[in-house]
């Protein structure tokens, strides 16, 4: 057993951390995160050049990473910097393109030349791929995909839709062929509604459910790692604030009521870090879905605790837009809304470890 990151991953983390600190100081981050396409073309080109996108795909699929720990390395840093760029959408797309042998598209995305997003949720299908109603008809798709992460800045849209045979298929749509309604999200970064009405589409697979689940698990793992990065930073900000803020003639860090609360959420951050390592280590194992569901359940609980406690312990300042900590808190809360929340994950754990059946 060994919990030290490899030299390569340490280098990626270091260089990405420096890059993000340079490109996205708090104020600039908020400009990008809430305006226009919620995306900075220069920054995207820079992170492609750094190899951040290539790290998300295995060597045999055209990248140079792709393991669970590669994903967590990248996204933990993204979380530390609240990176607003459409990394999640492109991760999902990359994993799906790779799974379907679309080497040219993988290459273009890794190079930063093209961007993609994956539309799966519909307003009536949250939490259950079987409820998807978007449908393929010959070479066209009809339906509507909601809150498509990175959809606002994508050249290509991957879409999960029902095949004529009633299976879950995977299709590629040129973004300019679809109606794309873009918006920023409350915690920064962009998404879009994708409206498809007999829109031309290319079928990548007419039975893609397993590949989609695998890609979504990669996305869940990424979100978990992102949360750990954000929690680490928010904890440090809160600790520093408690030491600096004076009330009743002394730093509020000297009050045991606050000390113990900080300890309690710090313990949950360590638990969160542990479960992310566990999930990353099981990405290629049979227990992948269970490990990821466990991780995202715990992350959802820990993220909410850390976010709410940190706002509270900052007092009024934690409520302000100007203070960077509030944006970390928002991100932590909203991560739970992406790719299945705490309860969704718990239901999955319960289904996969049915305790009414002896092991």
């Amino acid at each position: 057993m060994d919990f030290t990151p490899t030299e390569d991953r340490r280098m990626i983390a270091d260089s990405f951390r420096r890059f993000l600190a340079d490109k996205f100081p708090a104020e600039r981050r908020n400009e990008i995160a809430y305006e226009g396409a919620c995306h900075d073309a220069d920054a995207w080109a820079g992170l492609a050049e750094l190899g951040i996108l290539g790290a998300l795909v295995s060597e045999e699929d055209g990248g140079f990473g792709g393991a669970g720990f590669d994903i967590t390395t990248v996204f933990e840093e993204a979380g530390r910097a609240l990176c607003p760029e459409p990394l999640l959408g492109n991760l999902l797309a990359l994993r799906l393109y790779a799974a379907h042998g679309k080497a040219d598209r993988v290459e273009a995305i890794i190079a930063g030349a093209e961007k993609a997003a994956f539309g799966f949720d519909e307003t009536d299908s949250f939490g259950d791929l079987a409820e998807i109603s978007a449908k393929a008809d010959g070479d066209t798709l009809t339906g509507r995909k909601t809150v498509v992460y990175g959809g606002q800045a994508a050249d290509w849209l991957l879409v999960a839709a029902k095949t004529a045979a009633g299976k879950l298929g995977l299709y590629e749509v040129k973004a300019s062929d679809a109606e794309v309604l873009s918006y920023p999200m409350i915690d920064g970064g962009g998404a879009a509604e994708i409206v498809l009405d007999k829109t031309p589409a290319t079928c990548l697979s007419d039975d893609a459910e397993a590949a989609i689940e695998a890609a979504l698990d990669a996305g869940r793992l990424a979100l978990c790692a992102e949360a750990v990065g954000a929690m680490d930073v928010l904890k440090d900000m809160t600790r520093d604030y408690l030491m600096q803020r004076q009330q009743f003639g002394r730093p509020i860090a000297t009050f045991q009521a606050l000390q113990h609360r900080l300890v309690d959420f710090s313990i949950e951050i360590e638990q969160a870090r542990s479960i992310v390592i566990y999930a990353a280590g099981h990405m290629d194992a049979d227990e992948r879905a269970l490990a990821v569901a466990k991780a995202k359940n715990l992350i959802g609980r820990a993220g909410k605790l850390v976010a709410e406690e940190c706002i509270q312990m900052h007092g009024g300042i934690g409520m302000t837009w100007e203070y960077a900590g509030s944006h970390y808190a928002k991100r932590l809360i909203m991560i739970d809304h992406q790719l299945g929340d705490t309860e969704d994950q718990l239901r999955k754990v319960m289904a996969l470890t049915d305790i009414s059946v002896a092991a």
Binding site: M1, D2, F3, T4, P5, T6, F69, R239, L242, M243, A253, Q256, Q259, H260, L262, V263, D264, S266, I267, E270, Q271, A272, R273, S274, I275, I277, Y278, A280, G281, H282, K294, N297, L298, L346, V349, M350, T353, D354, I355, S356, V357, A358, A359
Partner: protein
């Protein structure tokens, strides 16, 4: 990153399993699994079994009769013993006094005392807490006054676990009132049969007897029974408390308790179906299981030395480990519904059969294990330790 044990570590695990299969009687394991009280002979015979393989004093170096294991081996050993429902070894001589003597004792103390711990000739107990000195241990008042070649001890110790079986007690006593309270404390060894010592049992919340009060009235102890130097007892006490932390999270024991909880939930019925089918109950079990999975990894991260904050991580593990264990105990009690109520006497368990035999003590164990977050440095004291590290104060 590599989450796998080495083939050597796996082979060691198998060796432990084989040993347990051969040497842990079904009778004793059942007693542990069913949460029944172990008597002195149960514990002594289990110690002897482990010692037959030199696997008793797991933290001692080989030259003193320990197996010479590293932290990972000790972890595997603890985990396998817990999963097999082996009794936990009594820690006072093995995990506490032994390491203290190896570090601070004279050659003579080591030569005379350590072998008697291994052989079971001496059962040690601990004299630390006092009625007025719990979390604030340094405020202890039991006095040891020098009189020629003896100390004369007066005062009272409390929460002395299994003192009723003990031959000897190691004590923190005040030998000076000068300076800070921590500076006037000494660590002395006392024969329990010395005139002037009285041991009184304390009945606990669930009705059991495991802790005692110990009264000292003009108890004369040879000065040669001092460990280390006079007034350096606090250093020794801190060493003792910080010594053996690999098993502080109790991952193995909680895993086994969770296995039993699930088995119980399949057995008992609620609303016409096995309790395990109730999604509200199953959700609570799943949540604890997730927390335990994370803690298993946190524990391994500490063991394999990756953590940058070893000290506070062990305090974190103490807090989280006890909270998780208590949550499992809570669910195990609730799983029984009204059947948790009978006071678990031999007759009730043996003849009435209200609850399954393996669960008849679940309510008692729930109450008893509220101690987990209180002893060994209360969870609030652990939070203070972590705070010190966090704020660097």
């Amino acid at each position: 990153m590599d989450l796998n044990y080495t083939p050597e570590e796996e082979a060691f695990r198998q060796e432990v399993r084989d040993f347990l299969k051969e040497n842990l009687s079904e009778e004793l394991a059942t007693k542990v699994r069913n949460g029944r009280e172990l008597n002195k002979q149960d514990m002594e015979s289990w110690h002897a079994t482990l010692q037959s393989r030199s696997w008793l004093a797991v933290t001692w170096p080989a030259e003193y009769g320990g197996p010479g294991w590293d932290a990972v081996q000790r972890h595997i050993f603890d985990e396998e013993l817990a999963l097999a429902n082996a009794p936990r070894t009594v820690p006072f001589g093995l995990a506490m006094l032994g390491p203290v003597l190896i570090k601070f004792g004279t050659e003579e103390q080591k030569a005379t005392i350590l072998p008697r711990i291994l052989s079971g000739e001496d059962w040690w107990c601990q004299g630390y807490s006092e009625p007025g000195a719990g979390s604030d241990l340094a405020s202890l008042k039991t006095r040891a006054v020098r009189d020629g070649d003896h100390y004369v001890i007066n005062g009272q110790k409390t929460w002395t676990t299994l003192g009723q079986f003990a031959d000897k007690i190691f004590c923190l006593v005040r030998t000076s009132t000068e300076g800070k309270p921590q500076q006037g404390i000494s660590f002395v060894l006392v024969d329990i049969n010395t005139p002037g010592i009285e041991m009184r049992p304390i009945k606990l919340i669930e009705g059991g007897f495991e802790v005692n009060e110990v009264f000292f009235t003009d108890v004369r102890v040879p000065v040669s029974n001092l460990v280390g130097e006079e007034n350096m007892g606090w250093t020794i006490a801190k060493y003792l408390l910080g010594h053996e932390r690999t098993n502080i999270a109790g991952v193995g024991a909680s895993s086994e308790a969770l296995n039993q909880l699930k088995a119980l939930a399949r057995k008992v019925k609620r609303n016409g179906a096995p309790l395990a089918k109730d999604p509200l109950f199953a959700a609570k079990v799943a949540e604890v299981e997730i927390d335990l999975e994370a803690m298993r990894l946190t524990n391994l991260r500490m063991l394999f030395g990756s953590s940058d904050a070893q000290g506070s991580v062990s305090s974190m593990l103490k807090i989280k480990g006890t909270v998780i264990r208590q949550a499992i105990n809570d669910l195990s009690r609730r799983a029984l519904g009204p059947a948790a109520a009978p006071f678990p006497s031999e007759e009730v368990i043996g003849n009435y059969g209200v609850a399954p035999a393996e669960a008849a003590t679940n309510a008692a164990n729930y109450f008893n294990n509220r101690k987990l977050s209180i002893f060994g440095g209360s969870n609030e004291i652990q939070r203070n330790i972590i705070t010190k590290e966090t704020f660097g104060a």
